[in-house]
Symmetry: C2
């Protein structure tokens, strides 16, 4: 049986057929995405903030300015939720009621801890850079001790998580199938455009990892 | 002076130059996007759930199954946060530390109320359908009283909100500019693919609003 990350809090009440709790499914979605939405509570108010991330084994790393409200809150070890959503398409049914979207999303619950070890912190920043632009880290000017100090890195264990996936065409009721309207799916993907070189770039040849950027090269 | 939606809770501590509170800027971002991430707290645990939405004037509408945990929680009028994020590009600087993303995001804070009036509920469902696929509502089989009952619609006033926007190239320190690495931006956009007709579609001609789908047609 595959390892699951199921708890009562990550069980789907609605559409249980869309749920998945296997680590492999969760990891695939986390590895294809690179923007997550982080939820936390401050003074009773929930906030949802987009940020980059990387998965390393069974940990999720996020980072930010040591001065940011989000990082200062989360490093206290408060409850958080990290959600990653990949939009795959718009599902057009006959009934307005049956319209939907195809997507793959992961929700991770838990509390984060501040990465204090300098070596682990550098490795996490490398992982985040490499997760977002594979091949980039080796070419960049690496963080100085001062820059490391100005950056907070948090890790959240991938211990309580669920994936939710919808694929395929519209699911109308039988009696709606003959309704005279086009029905189907309009697929969507996040597509890189033409790289825009910075005016002062010291190198003019676009690196392969930029020119051929793809989120699902391994597929 | 343009109307602003600024409060102490939506003031940016970090990168204030990226902040905007004018209703027009906020509306533009909300109108280009169609997936939001909704944050709320249940039993002390924050949750972040992706869903569709539409803006109508100064209200944001979301909907879902009347049986869903999210809707059942939010209709009580608890504090929530709705965040919409449009990813515009990856910013590659010379310093790993200066890497960033170009994005436009909106964060809305407040409490939602359940839409109980049948006419407003139908209008909200129409608005959500039309926001996600302009032109679709008129062609679909409209909700029955039973379907309306099975759907909850919530409205959140756009009263306390902020936008955060990053555009342009990398912002390295002066002394890093000559570092020998390509620097620039890889733009991103959410692009529709080829429509996939449902096997049982009663109509085979792809409608114009599907074939020419664009999130920023008005630009």
């Amino acid at each position: 049986m595959p390892e699951t990350l199921l708890t009562s809090r990550t069980t789907l009440g609605r559409h249980p057929e869309r749920g998945a709790h296997e680590r492999e499914t969760i990891n695939q979605i986390l590895d294809e995405g690179f923007v997550c939405h982080v939820g936390f509570v401050s003074d009773g108010q929930p906030y949802v903030i987009p940020t980059g991330y990387a998965r390393v084994g069974d940990e999720l790393y996020i980072h930010g300015s040591a001065a940011s409200r989000m990082l200062r809150n989360l490093e206290k070890g408060i409850e958080m939720c990290v959600t990653v959503t990949l939009l795959d398409g718009l599902v057009m049914a006959r009934a307005a009621f049956s319209h939907s979207m195809n997507y793959r999303s992961v929700l991770v619950l838990g509390t984060a801890s501040l990465v204090e070890d300098a070596e682990e912190k550098m490795a996490a920043l490398r992982a985040i850079t490499e997760h977002i632009v594979p091949g980039r880290w080796a070419e960049t000017r690496w963080p100085t001790p001062q820059e490391l100090k100005a950056t907070s890195v948090l890790k959240l264990p991938l211990a309580e998580a669920s994936a939710k996936i919808r694929t395929g065409g519209p699911k109308d009721k039988e009696e709606d199938l003959t309704f005279p309207v086009w029905a189907g799916v309009l697929p969507f993907s996040l597509v890189p455009g033409k790289p825009v070189e910075h005016e002062a770039s010291a190198v003019h040849e676009v690196p392969e990892y930029v020119a051929r950027y793809s989120r699902n090269a391994g597929k």
